[in-house]
């Protein structure tokens, strides 16, 4: 059990998917104008990651014979899962569907989910360890999207010099956040 907690904590904070592995930077720039939207996209990503983790675990029984097919197989599985989640959200929460817009289908081409499946395979996680990894990674992403969103809401009222407007200032914020998260280095596994 403590092993599971360690995996969860590492994925969420120590090796945060966004700030340490540089994964999924497009939504960080794209949907963090409002912290609430970032938070919801983070949760949707977490959901997809949990499903993808289970799918990757099942598929690895076959793929162990053909490791060179891994990326193709994973990417097709992820695209199908995202399609299902999209239909599900469209039916049960049309408001959220409209709010997330293009970024919902783009979870399919999101590097976070693909690398989650690959890391899980490379590290030989069991089903439950994989789930802890997916939950930790997803919640870590959600936290970063929400924090960047909150900071950007503050920046609306700040006198930013013209040359720093747009993505430049968002990356400076991300650099500082990343520096803060470096403080956790060495506290988890891998």
């Amino acid at each position: 059990m403590s092993q599971h907690f360690l995996i969860f904590f590492s994925a969420a904070v120590v090796t945060n998917f966004v700030l340490v592995y540089f994964l999924g930077l497009c939504p960080v720039i794209g949907v963090t104008n409002k912290s609430a939207t970032g938070f919801r996209l983070g949760l949707a990503t977490t959901f997809v990651m949990v499903l993808a983790s289970i799918a990757a675990w099942v598929m690895n029984f076959v793929l162990v014979r053909a490791p060179y097919l891994r990326v193709i197989a994973f990417i097709v599985a992820i695209a199908s899962i995202v399609q299902l989640v999209e239909l599900f959200i469209k039916k049960f929460s049309p408001a959220l569907y409209r709010e997330l817009g293009i970024f919902l289908p783009l979870i399919a081409s999101n590097s976070q989910v693909l690398l989650l499946a690959i890391f899980q395979t490379n590290r030989g996680y069991t089903l439950t360890q994989g789930l802890a990894f997916a939950l930790g990674g997803g919640l870590g992403i959600t936290a970063v999207l929400a924090i960047v969103g909150i900071l950007r809401e503050r920046l609306e009222f700040a006198p930013i010099p013209a040359i720093a407007r747009g993505p430049a200032i968002v990356f400076m914020i991300a650099a500082l956040l990343s520096l803060i998260f470096m403080g956790f280095a060495g506290m988890g596994t891998a």
Binding site: I29, G30, L69, V71, L115, A162, M172
Partner: protein, 233 residues
């Protein structure tokens, strides 16, 4: 990915198509695409070069195939088709890198797989290769692939020189130089791309100011420049 689905601007002469991606519509510095791999692997010059060239290879091959098949790919399943084509060439690039430069392949690790989800590659299929002839698509892919490599080197060279005191593994800084370790760590990647984007904004603002001084009424030539002017001013 957000800005990937955007058609290119300007005339489609072979020369313009080839040079556009190099600088004025540079995928990383101007369109801010493909950032994940641009930040993750650029802590050493060798890694940056290998990643850039592998991406360029995948981009050129997939653009050629997508452009050849553009009349037969159904609109509804085009993205899935592009991704499958890209993933196939990624497999080729992955195995070739492992055979040619095993050490670099090892240090790039799982990030090689990220070429599949790189918005530069998918973006060129959607914006260019699916609507143009094979020859033009290949030229466009070469331009964008080399532009991507240039951007990666712009990130990788300062990060390795300042963070480790070396260039391609050879010591270049004076003996008393204390390496800025933070440049090799994740925050260094974010700082470096932030600084490059500041530079791009500064360059744009200066160009706009100069254009205004010469002829106040003329708008900037290209659509991206116009969009950026609206965002900046």
């Amino acid at each position: 990915m957000s800005m990937a689905v955007k058609a290119s601007t300007g005339p489609n002469t072979p020369q313009a198509v080839l040079t556009r991606g190099l600088w004025h519509e540079n995928p990383v510095l101007v369109q801010t695409l493909g950032l994940c791999s641009a930040l993750a692997v650029t802590n050493a010059v060798a890694n940056s070069l290998a990643m850039g060239l592998a991406t360029a290879f995948v981009l050129v091959c997939s653009s050629a195939i997508v452009s050849l098949m553009r009349k037969y790919i159904a609109h509804e399943i085009r993205i899935t088709t592009y991704i499958l084509i890209i993933a196939t060439f990624l497999g080729v690039a992955d195995l070739s890198l492992e055979a040619i430069v095993p050490e670099v392949h090892k240090s790039l690790g799982a990030y090689i797989a990220l070429i599949v989800t790189n918005c530069v590659v998918l973006g060129r299929q959607e914006a260019f290769a699916s609507r143009n002839t094979v020859g033009l698509s290949v030229l466009d892919a070469i331009g964008n692939g080399v532009g991507f490599t240039i951007a990666l080197l712009l990130m990788g060279i300062p990060r390795e020189v300042l963070g480790n005191g070396t260039f391609l593994g050879v010591h270049v800084m004076p003996a008393g130089f204390d390496p800025w370790v933070v440049m090799m760590l994740p925050p260094g990647g974010f700082f470096m791309i932030g600084i490059l984007l500041l530079g791009a904004n500064w360059h744009d603002l200066r160009k706009i100011a100069r254009a205004r001084a010469v002829a106040p009424a003329t708008a900037p030539a290209t659509a991206p420049a116009r969009e950026r002017e609206e965002a900046l001013v």
